[in-house]
Symmetry: C2
Subunit: 223 residues, 2 copies
Amino acid sequence: VLSVDGVSKSYLMGEVTVKALHDISLDFGAGQLVVLLGASGSGKSTLLNIVGGLDVPDSGTVSFKGLNINAKGEAGLTDYRRRSIGFVFQFYNLISSLSALENVQLVTELVDNPMSPAEALELVGLGDRMNHFPSQLSGGEQQRVAIARAVAKRPELLLCDEPTGALDYSTGKLVLEVIEKVNRELGTTTLVITHNVSISGMADRVITLRSGEVVEDRRNEKK
Amino acid sequence: VLSVDGVSKSYLMGEVTVKALHDISLDFGAGQLVVLLGASGSGKSTLLNIVGGLDVPDSGTVSFKGLNINAKGEAGLTDYRRRSIGFVFQFYNLISSLSALENVQLVTELVDNPMSPAEALELVGLGDRMNHFPSQLSGGEQQRVAIARAVAKRPELLLCDEPTGALDYSTGKLVLEVIEKVNRELGTTTLVITHNVSISGMADRVITLRSGEVVEDRRNEKK
Ligand SMILES: Nc1ncnc2c1ncn2[C@@H]1O[C@H](COP(=O)(O)OP(=O)(O)OP(=O)(O)O)[C@@H](O)[C@H]1O
Ligand SMILES: Nc1ncnc2c1ncn2[C@@H]1O[C@H](COP(=O)(O)OP(=O)(O)OP(=O)(O)O)[C@@H](O)[C@H]1O
Ligand SMILES: [Mg+2]
Ligand SMILES: [Mg+2]
């Protein structure tokens, strides 16, 4: 359902070229739960941003349900992002002037069949923090609002950049159960960047990046 | 060398009072390496911010080398923060218009005997990223600039809020070795908030918070 074909991305820094991604080709089946591993700076966020239509590759294509996501201009890309994708950013990207509830609501209003914002926040243990603003929330609470916002959309494609980075063991486990539940019950194709090894245990497939290249692509036989 | 005495902090949210910290009393000896554990929202960052003079308690005092840090007004507090403390923020707080090198330089210029900015960045594996701006760095790279900036000061007190949250296993291990080395070679009193269990292994003492209270305070017999 999601196809990455020959994608490369580089940055020119004076005389040095930083190759963030080099010739990445991957196909993702509907409903697959994929974990993306790799050292700091190996290209994981760059790949996720390109798949999510937040960044454009220098070469290569990304296709969703057979259609090139970059072929329909800015409007087509915005539509893809709004309707099809739930994105959990590495830096959360919450709107500081809106409460937790309003941050989730902003996104659920854009789609046809969302969860209620309150329901999504309850799922991640923030039922008693709905009226707090981002600056009034702990790091892990902000991260969980970002997760609630992404899953509340009931998206076809869920892209999560380090969803448990700021969480302790048991809160992280709670969040992973939410992600795994959404993947299983809605058939959401799910890509999770993580350093949390227990997440790879629940994945169908584990892909490892190193210096912008895929160095391992392993199927999990747990299912 | 650092004393927290009867510190409490609450937030009034409409009809509900959120008790972020409740009557915390702790003494930290010079050169101690302390790990602070606790679930998301348990009050860890609030405690660290109060110890670092970035926030003021509702009641109780914080004393550094016998002097109440809040007793000398804004000027005294600014001086305490600049000279005595290296702070690694949960959200890095880098200046987006300055390069990695300049971000570290800004801080080393304030003290008498700092490391060179280049040296500090090399220590955390960013020798080849010195001229990148924060927006041109991966999440883990930004976190490492924040760490370089804190240790380059050669501070008396090093306060780290989740210094390995965005890092993979081996990069996280590198960072912990830097923190542990600074603590050992400079005798820096070090408080580290983390969810990374391997850090508690290297600590002299492990303190656990739950709902704003200290529920465990354990000495490590490894040394
Ligand atoms: N705008 C940019 N200009 C220059 N270099 C960049 C830019 N954005 C990213 N990079 C570089 O590209 C590389 C890959 O970055 P990316 O954010 O994808 O890494 P990552 O795998 O997500 O790392 P982390 O685990 O630390 O978040 C990094 O080494 C980074 O320094
Ligand atoms: N300005 C504020 N107004 C209201 N409540 C606040 C404010 N700042 C923090 N809180 C609440 O205080 C509690 C403690 O926050 P703190 O940031 O210290 O937690 P933490 O232990 O660092 O969590 P994490 O591991 O998620 O970073 C949280 O439940 C948070 O919602
Ligand atoms: Mg990243
Ligand atoms: Mg915190």
